[in-house]
Amino acid sequence: MSTLLEVRDLFKTYGTGEAETRVLRGLSLRLEAGEMAALLGPSGAGKSTLLTILGTLMKPTSGSYEMLDQDMISADDRALTDFRNAHIGFVFQFHNLLPDFTALENVIFPTAVREGRETPTARTRGRDLLERMGLADRIDFPTANLSGGQKQRVAVARALMNRPELVLADEPTGNLDRASAKQVMDLIGEINREEGTTFLISTHDEKIAASCRRQIEVADGVVTG
């Protein structure tokens, strides 16, 4: 297995003075390509913070971060934007989809924004992904009319659109009932096995964590297990 990403000695401090919150305190972590990992830890431990830094949406206060042999700390906004588009997919807990667009339009967004238009090739792939997520009959649905579980499956399809090496999911099933949660996790597992996409999923759910091959515990700002 090759190393997909590695962070070392990550520190992240929010605010200053009285409001100072030291969240990450020298956290180090390595993810191999093709891993399926759960990110665990008590509320406020810094799971979302870590995912945001790994997703290049925020820089750590200090520490190093390399992904695909590139230095993510020194890269500028433009370079990181392109990098995210090509190599990282996101699934969030809330505010996942663009509400004024259909399921298919949401899914192909990462390709369309890169190409400057919605190409037929992108549409075909978007349709395939939605079918794979069991949403063949919801392709042209306005996302506002979808159920929570359906929305998260659309979000997973979109995260996969540009065939990224890494998908970061922050409590993707936090708002779902057990059945929907299981359906989403099964699909993620399937993609991981078949395409070798690396997943890092934060969760409070023991069952979901158990369904991942690796569990990463975060506490007191470091990886404890």
């Binding site: 949406l57 906004d77 995210r84 369309a112 400057g116 919605e118 979109r158």
Partner: protein
């Protein structure tokens, strides 16, 4: 950027009521802009036509010839012809110049005239009169004499005279009766009143007489040439340029109406300034309206902007999405306001058929294209600030909200 345009369009159509309201607001601003343009333009046109419409736009008057000198080779003046007492300067070669002047672009009509002073006598009544000899058929070339006729015809001819209403009344003269006209040169003619006009201008109605050019030749002992050439232009604003052109072409002293009309021009200028001022405010209102609406939209869509940025949309892409919204709003509001403005101006009478008591709106001076262009530019400028704010949205806080 086609894709950014698609997203901009979707954002606008997603909230139809709000977008419609915004576009209507812009349209109202454009409507005011166009209404002001048509009003100020129409008003200027109206004032000009009232004050200058009946005047000659370019006038060539005979200059008294300079005294001719006889100069010896050494430079001493040997003899000077003294200037004559009576004004008898003529444009002797007028006939040769007329076709040339008529061919100048923008010249609508040319009226060669012989003007002079005289006395009208009927019985014991004597009135001083200013006589204008015009070419038969060109009576209405400069002043719309036909339009001012209250009795008879404006047509001049042999043995005929056309007088103002007040003058005819003073002399108790009615159509078909004869009157004796004695010129300042002492020549007398017996003329029949063939028409009476009323312009509303006291000096005209009480002291002007029109006769035919041949009658004037006899009266003022001027077998050839004229004393004055009046020229009417298609566009009275072109008087300065056309006068220069005629001067260059003929060497005659062609004078535009604007010489000596500085006060009028100043007044019109001030009026135009007021128009610019009001139009600028209409545009500023549009800009503020669009800017605040887009600012609100930027704020409301923060989470979406965050998602787009996370998915790999660059800052420029976000800027373009919001600037395109501004441009679309400006374009649609501009076109709608221009159409409304045009429709609202349709019922107003045209410049020619203007009736006193109504606003002298000129539908042709609505500046529709300018209004739309300025509105689109204004809306784009208005969207730059919200667009920049949108592009700086931090994905982390936006998505975390």
């Amino acid at each position: 950027m086609l894709y950014a345009l698609k997203i901009a369009t979707r954002y606008l159509t997603a909230n139809k009521a709000q977008t419609a309201l915004l576009i209507t607001g812009v349209a109202v601003g454009v409507f005011i802009f166009i209404f002001m343009s048509a009003l100020i333009g129409g008003l200027a046109e109206f004032i000009l036509s009232r004050t200058v419409g009946d005047l000659s736009h370019v006038t060539i008057e005979a200059e008294d010839p300079d005294p001719s000198l006889l100069i010896a080779p050494a430079g001493h003046v040997l003899a000077v012809t003294e200037r004559g007492r009576t004004r008898n300067a003529t444009l002797a070669e007028a006939e040769t110049w007329l076709p040339l002047i008529e061919a100048v672009p923008g010249v609508r009509a040319v009226s060669p005239q012989i003007t002079g002073a005289g006395f009208l006598t009927r019985g014991a009544q004597v009135s001083q009169v200013s006589v204008t000899g015009v070419m038969p058929g060109r009576e209405s070339a400069i002043l719309d004499l036909d339009g001012y006729m209250v009795e008879g015809s404006a047509r001049t001819g042999s043995g005929l005279i056309v007088l103002g209403r007040d003058l005819a009344d003073d002399l108790a003269l009615s159509l078909g009766q004869t009157v004796r006209l004695q010129s300042s040169g002492g020549i007398t003619a017996l003329l029949t009143l063939s028409g009476v006009f009323e312009t509303g201008n006291g000096a005209m109605d009480g002291a002007r007489a029109f006769v035919s050019l041949p009658v004037a030749r006899t009266l003022f002992a001027m077998p050839q040439g004229v004393t004055r050439i009046e020229i009417k232009l298609d566009d009275l604003n072109a008087a300065d340029a056309t006068a220069l052109r005629i001067r260059a072409l003929t060497g005659l002293d062609a004078v535009p109406w604007t010489d000596g009309a500085e006060q009028l021009m100043e007044a019109l200028n001030a009026q135009a300034q007021t128009g610019y001022f009001l139009k600028t405010f209409a545009l500023i209102t549009i800009v503020i309206g669009v800017a605040s609406a887009l600012m609100l939209s930027t704020y409301r869509r923060r989470p979406e902007i965050g998602i787009m940025r996370a998915m790999g949309a660059g800052r420029n892409f976000v800027v373009f999405v919001f600037v395109a919204q501004g441009a679309l709003i400006g374009l649609m509001g501009g076109v709608m306001g221009a159409a409304l403005g045009y429709l609202a101006l349709l019922p107003f009478p045209s410049r020619e058929a203007f009736e006193p008591g109504t606003l002298p709106m000129d539908i042709t001076q609505g500046s529709y294209g300018l209004a739309i262009t300025l509105t689109v530019i204004g809306a784009i400028l208005a969207s730059i600030l919200p667009a920049r704010a949108a592009s700086r949205v931090d994905p982390v806080t936006a998505i975390g909200q």
